[in-house]
Symmetry: C2
Subunit: 489 residues, 2 copies
């Protein structure tokens, strides 16, 4: 028995390693649970077999102070271990897991604001080590604080990489042994989640996806295997504070699954995860037809927020009214020049969608898809970024992060998407519209500073003088402009 | 009794003028009908009082040959007139009224193609004569073949013109006498419809609209006055071959009307018009929210086509599936720089919407709304055009008019909007998408010429060599490109 004696910071990771039986199939045959207690409050977590006779229990303490624990197991060797550790305050850079704050926003568990500015590298952990390091180096310099990434490998256009290992081990004679996990794979995945954590990036982990088409069969496992996989993943990963559960990508394209499967899997995720990490499910859709967008019923209590695919930036207010949960438009087309419609918008258009969506009180996610001789495309494999949008997304992030904390969409200003706090602060975005001027009406007795933001040129120009009452604000006769109004008295 | 003895061309206008009673209110008190016969086929048309003791019956013959007529009236003076005239073949430039051809297209009555390329001058006939002449001079040089225009004057932003006369005469002491029409007004309107006819422009005549707000009260008349007005308008104007009946603009913004009113008025229009001119009704809507678009039930048999307001160019295929009638997106925002969201898109965006809508088998309408010191804005008053889009719309019109006559949308090509004829001709538009290349799959054994069309620069570049089978077509890494594929063998 090895116990890390060091104190664990709040939202850090405590790990208990135990030697146990190796015979048979320990993944399937042994049950191990840890019970962590403090002040009469107990949290139960599932342990897992990590190969080589080693079992582990991981725990993320959410309160400071002295925690005690005990184990229960079907195996005598693993049963009845007890101990304790001290949970100390979170250290710099650790603000805990991201939670839903209200209908519109997210926040870290320590109460500080978190606005998702995500990007997408679906299969990056399935590339070679050098490429993964390159991706991490790029992310270290990029403006993103969330990464959409898959557990299972991906078989899709521009991506036919066969990884060196898989969540499951291969069977002799072909196929996978869906009862035995591969600890090497999970060690790699955990390393990457830790790396992202170091960079302040949330791992929006896609647990199932349709990009398989019979190559490995992970999109068409039996329900029992899906559940078995899910329990193991959660047992291993839930104690990483930066994990989000993205149950599936383009779930509606997975022909072997039914809606009842998604209900069950989402509920299982909710049950198995002691920390209630964010849970979402992402739709696919035909690109042409609003009617063909099939959203999961996001009113279900086991869904924390919307992680949707849609190209119409005017939709979020409608979804807010219906579902009353924060919205991340995780796919709205990517900056690039692929033949595929989802992967060939300009940097201007990518940035416009970010602004248009954020100015409606929602969030948008980046991806990059430039045709490349070697098919090294960021959106699938990571690597380097080439586009024009990340710099502008950083500019937008800076602006949003200096907005008052509790900003909301202001639908009363019906003609220009606007977020802010009535009477205090307004950030409005004109997008493809280019008014020569705007009549601004401000509350009586107040004075506002006005700034004109060129979202593409990344300039902020303060308007001379203060605005009061009803005034006419001259605007540049250009697209991609925003106005920021801040009350000064 | 005066009869124009000259032969009348097919779809021309025969007019019979009769002297009749002037006492009382002849508009309301006298009934006059004309019955026109040829080969046992009879058409009944309503006559109308034109002031000064003159009554008129107008008739548009739709078949060549000898027509005879007789009159019936409540007034002895007007009753029992008979006569005949010769209907000769249509002369150059006269192709008859525009009809619905099929689910997607319109055609002139002579069978030749008509694709609407409209513009908008809502209140142009209410301006002074010099200004109207200016508008006509502009239209003579512009690429448009349809004009959206109102009968009633317009009270709205940037337009507070009080016209010199109205459909109804003023009452002494204020207000209008809703039982007495003003023939001066109708003479002017008819002159303008004729002027448009000379220019080959269809008059998409808006019979009711909400831009009044108590100033004149024409948006809030009693049902009986609405019907009375409609009968008179149709009696006077139906014989102009280039008239379309646009029952209302933004009908859903007319608070004094109910859906049953629109049903009744549309059915009345259908009954009163012997020639079955096109009939539509145009929705208003909040700009932000798809859910707030309230379409009239376009499945009703008294609606010939959709004349809609919407800003989402991807919607037409959905409406086609539902309503199975040709679609004109008569408002999708205007080129300009007004503060209002509907009036401040760029020329690029206006042209993009035209292409995106036309490439989905529908039609789009132009408007121009540049802020102007004197509030002389094309969309309301006519005058001159200043924008960048008309020239590009002309370019597009040329391309569409050289497409094979029976082109249709090809939804099987799901990723890029495409019209054409399968195996023969494809016109596809990439819009804001900028693929670096496209994989083209053509029917076996065929060869196609490929052209790359820069819709903004107005260039057509033929690709070297012919395409066969599956080929990779390199595209410029630019937005606003189209591809035209024409079978050569």
């Amino acid at each position: 028995m090895t116990v890390r004696e060091a104190a664990v910071e709040r939202w850090g990771q405590f790990e208990l390693s135990l030697a146990g039986p190796q015979e048979g199939n320990p993944y399937a045959e042994q049950e191990l649970k840890g019970y962590f207690s403090k002040d009469g409050h107990e949290v139960s977590v599932r342990g897992f077999y990590d190969g080589g006779g080693v079992y582990r229990i991981r725990f993320m303490p959410e309160q400071e102070g002295r925690w005690t624990y005990r184990t229960e197991s079907s195996a005598a060797q693993l049963n009845g271990h007890t101990g304790s550790f001290e949970c100390i305050p979170a250290q710099a850079g650790n603000r805990g897991p991201v939670r839903v704050k209200d209908k519109y926003q997210f926040a870290y568990a320590d109460g500080s604001s978190y606005a998702p500015f995500g990007t997408t590298c679906y299969a990056w952990i399935h590339l070679d080590e050098a490429m993964q390091k390159q991706t991490l180096a790029t992310l270290a310099e990029a403006p993103f604080n969330k990464l959409r990434m898959c557990v299972f490998p991906k078989h899709y256009a521009f991506n036919s990489t066969d990884p060196d290992c898989y969540p499951f081990v291969k069977k002799q004679g072909g196929g996978f042994d869906l009862e035995r996990f591969d600890p090497r794979f999970f060690a790699k995945l955990e390393q990457r989640i830790s790396d992202l954590q170091q960079l302040g990036i949330e791992a929006d982990l896609i647990l199932f996806h349709p990009y398989d088409k019979g190559r490995w069969g992970f999109d068409a496992m039996e329900s029992s295997s899906d559940d078995y996989y899910l329990r193991y993943v959660i047992a291993r990963l839930a104690s990483f504070r930066n994990v989000w559960w993205a149950l599936a990508n383009e779930y509606d394209f997975m022909e072997e699954k039914h809606m009842t499967d998604w209900d069950r899997l989402l509920q299982l995720t909710q049950e198995e995860d002691p920390y209630a990490h964010l849970r979402s499910i992402h739709n696919g859709t035909k690109m042409y037809d609003h009617a063909s967008v099939v959203f999961y019923d996001h009113k279900q209590p086991w869904i924390t927020h919307l992680s949707v695919q849609h190209w119409d930036v005017t939709m979020p207010p409608i979804w807010h009214r219906e579902f009353r949960k924060p919205i991340v438009v995780d796919e709205c087309c990517y900056e690039g020049n692929l033949p595929q419609r989802w992967g060939n918008v300009t940097g201007e258009e990518m940035v416009r969608r970010f602004w248009d969506i954020i100015a409606r009180g929602s969030y948008c996610t980046h991806g990059e898809t430039f045709a490349d001789e070697n098919d090294t495309i960021w959106w699938a494999k990571g690597g380097k970024l080439h586009g024009d949008s990340p710099e502008r997304i950083r500019f937008l992030r800076t602006i949003l992060e200096t907005a008052p904390e509790n900003y909301k969409p202001i639908p009363e200003i019906y003609d220009v998407p606007t977020i802010g706090i009535e009477g205090e602060y307004y950030l409005q975005y004109f997008g493809i519209h280019r008014p020569a001027y705007r009549i601004i009406e401000l509350p009586e007795g107040s004075s506002f500073k006005a700034e004109i933001i060129d979202t593409w040129e990344m300039t902020i120009t303060e308007v001379e003088g203060l605005l009061n009452g009803t005034s006419r604000l001259e605007l540049p006769d250009k697209i991609y402009q925003a106005v920021r109004l801040t009350r000064v008295s």
